[in-house]
């Protein structure tokens, strides 16, 4: 039940603090979600959506850092596999 799905903000619909909504794309599917708890998200940002409500704006730098830190483990061939910033061609 604590699972959340990452999705990209396509467009803001309502900026009201209680009724804030935006259109979010999940791997091609679009759905209106509530963004009252992620008002800092901009169009193009990724958010984690849980139970229809965005609970965080994903930090691309922190996401990449995990893959960069793995390189310190040595045996480094392949450690720099594409992280989020390179996994998908973004506009």
């Amino acid at each position: 039940m604590c699972l959340g799905i990452p999705g990209r903000v396509i467009r803001w619909i309502d900026r009201d603090p209680t009724f804030a909504t935006a259109e979010i794309e999940f791997d091609g599917l679009r759905r209106v979600c509530h963004l009252a708890c992620a008002t800092d998200a901009n169009v193009g940002d990724f958010v984690i959506v849980h139970a229809g409500v965005a609970i965080s704006r994903l930090d691309p730098q922190a996401a990449q850092r995990v893959f960069d830190e793995l390189a310190r483990l040595g045996d480094d061939e392949g450690w720099h596999v594409p992280g989020p910033e390179r996994a998908e061609h973004e506009p």
């Binding site: 039940m1 604590c2 699972l3 959340g4 990452p6 990209r8 209680t18 009724f19 999940f26 791997d27 509530h34 009252a36 708890c37 992620a38 008002t39 990724f46 984690i48 849980h50 139970a51 229809g52 409500v53 609970i55 965080s56 994903l58 930090d59 691309p60 922190a62 996401a63 850092r65 995990v66 893959f67 793995l70 483990l73 045996d75 392949g78 450690w79 596999v81 594409p82 992280g83 989020p84 996994a87 998908e88 973004e90």
Partner: protein, 369 residues
């Protein structure tokens, strides 16, 4: 899909497995708190990959599983009333109460609806002012912002036909209860990434200092889980105990402060009975007095009913991490997802369901325990 595929990369995952096996000089017991993590550990076979080096102890992180049977029985009472509709997440509708599940009530003509979001239940109430809509609010801190938001929206809309059965539970008091229990042998915790996304992880500093156990904030995909386990093993091997964040793309030290404020507006901390575990001090959330008009218990009252709990079900021991689901005499025989004796067998986050789905047909000796 971005932010998922790269965290499922088998090359990265296998190298993390190798790193864990190389780092560990003795067996360690690590508890993953969240049921979503339990399912992914089993689904991807991480427990068997690490067998003999890291034993994964499955925690009580399935909110549906620990929801008190009295709350389920109350929801069923309401759903059987004319002009009352009970809505909740799909998982909650399948969990057995004293007399079957909410789905059984629906089959008998009761008004029960699955919704994706608590806010959808507000919309149901807005569209049908002649019907009372009750949302059965279950979940950890991850879900509390969504249900609190539903209350704030219902208040703004002036709805007098929307209310909640609040059964929210809090993770950290349950971890305290586990660490304080006699015979606890947990060496480290994978803290639930989305709970920490909402509430942050600064509050774990005191916990770590008190119990000297590493707490590593961990996500849900295989690379996330293995990164969290590796961080635990490295701390344990160095005899360290720190709060560490391996889910930095989503979880920040202070959490989501906007979500936290939404929750604080609506809820206050309370003691709460957890099914199978007993009452946990500060283990739940309830509506603040100023929101009492949205409390289904206040609105409808409740008829006392005899609680009937299966004595064949060992889910309390499973939820406390004392036994593996496969250690229950009823597992896979008297208790299956189609005929569950307890909630962990029916919930999509329940440890028993995870073992039934992913580990039932594993070769003997490959149980990961």
């Amino acid at each position: 899909m971005k932010y998922l595929d790269e965290y499922r990369d088998p090359v990265v995952a296998s190298r993390l497995v190798r790193a864990i096996l190389q780092r560990a000089t003795r067996p360690w017991k690590i508890m993953e708190v969240c049921g979503g993590q339990t399912h992914n550990l089993l689904r991807h076979g991480i427990d068997t990959e690490l067998a003999g080096v890291v034993e994964l102890i499955h925690g009580p992180g399935c909110p549906v599983c620990v929801t008190a049977i009295e709350a389920i029985d109350f929801a069923q009472q309401l759903a059987a009333q004319p002009d009352v509709l009970v809505a909740s997440f799909g998982d909650m509708l399948r969990v057995p109460g004293s007399r079957g599940s909410l789905l059984d009530v629906r089959a008998a003509g009761g008004n029960v609806r699955t919704v994706y979001s608590p806010v959808d239940a507000v919309e149901l109430a807005r569209r049908d002012p002649n019907r009372q809509v009750v949302f059965f609010a279950v979940g950890f801190e991850t879900t509390a912002p969504a249900t609190a938001l539903a209350v704030l929206q219902a208040a703004r809309l002036g709805l007098d036909n929307f209310s909640l059965i609040v059964a929210h539970v809090r993770v950290q008091p349950a971890m305290e209860a586990i660490m304080s229990s006699p015979g606890c042998n947990v060496n480290a915790f994978l803290a639930a990434g989305h709970v920490c996304t909402v509430i942050g992880y600064e509050s774990y500093e005191e916990f770590v200092a008190r119990y000297h156990v590493p707490v590593v904030v961990t996500g849900f995909e295989p690379v996330d889980l293995l990164s969290g386990i590796l961080a635990c093993v490295e701390q344990l091997e160095a005899d360290e105990a720190r709060v560490e964040n391996c889910y930095g793309r989503s979880a920040r030290p202070a959490g989501n402060t906007v979500a936290g404020e939404v929750v604080r507006q609506v809820y206050e901390i309370c003691d709460r009975p957890w099914r199978g575990l007993g009452t946990i001090i500060a283990g739940g959330l309830r509506l603040k007095p100023q929101w009492a008009r949205f409390d289904a218990a206040s609105r409808f009252g409740g008829l006392p009913m005899e609680v009937i709990e299966s004595d064949e079900c060992h889910s309390g021991e499973v939820l406390a991490g004392r036994i593996k689901p496969s250690g229950c005499p009823s597992f896979g025989t008297r208790c299956t997802p189609e005929q569950p004796l307890g909630a962990p067998m029916v919930s999509s986050e329940g440890a028993c369901a995870a073992y039934f789905r992913y580990a039932l047909h594993r070769p003997v000796g490959a149980t990961g325990s």
